[in-house]
Amino acid sequence: MSTSPRVGSAVADQPANFGTALAHQPELAKAFGTLYATLWTQGAVDQPLKELVRLRNARVTDCGY
């Protein structure tokens, strides 16, 4: 496991994180964000259950971020 991000921030004066790394591909990031927001806020599964599923997914994949 690396101790530092493998992709730098594409946003000036901001540290590398998921969002600023994605900013290397701004149009892709925008399209991803729009779809993700739609999936998050709409649909047959309520948001508390979605959050539990998201957290469990993160736990199983050991994604501490």
Binding site: S2, A21, H24, Q25, E27, L28, T34, L35, T38
Partner: protein, 145 residues
């Protein structure tokens, strides 16, 4: 722009399907990433995940760019086959690490991709692998072709 990779059996609401298609369009047409290399990575990922439906289909952008089926047929031997250049091998090595265990991606493997395609390319490939991975898992979990 490829046909949507979302299985039609899912019957997604049209506005969601459109957003997904928009994301795919950005991925294949708007990142600057070589569509042939991206297709080879997608196919290798599908093979590792055992997703037959994703193995048999082809993305039109890659076909239009000149995807060679003889090269596709040798994909499993990418580390040694002369059909694959160093850039493609770096991307395929990263793909395999991503699929097998993302915690197993190491600095050397990531740096090799970055050296060939830059940080924007590494971001594009990683986002693509995440998207392709999701599609394979949806197909496998719901048993939809």
């Amino acid at each position: 722009m490829p046909a949507t990779a979302v299985p039609p059996e899912l019957d997604l609401p049209p506005h969601v399907a459109k957003l997904y298609d928009d994301l795919l369009a950005r991925l294949w047409d708007g990142t600057g990433f070589d569509p042939i290399v991206l297709e080879l990575c997608r196919l290798r990922q599908a093979r590792l995940l055992g997703c037959e439906a994703e193995m048999v289909r082809r993305t039109q952008d890659a076909v239009d760019a000149g995807l060679d089926e003889e090269v596709v047929a040798t994909l499993s031997s990418w580390p040694t086959s002369p059909d694959f250049d160093q850039r493609t091998r770096a991307c395929l090595a990263y793909t395999e690490a991503f699929v097998i265990d993302p915690h197993g991606v190491d600095d050397t493997t990531a740096a090799a991709v970055r050296d060939h395609v830059g940080e924007p390319g590494l971001v594009a490939l990683t986002m693509a692998l995440g998207l392709f991975d999701g599609v394979c898992r949806v197909r496998l979990s719901l048993e939809v072709t």
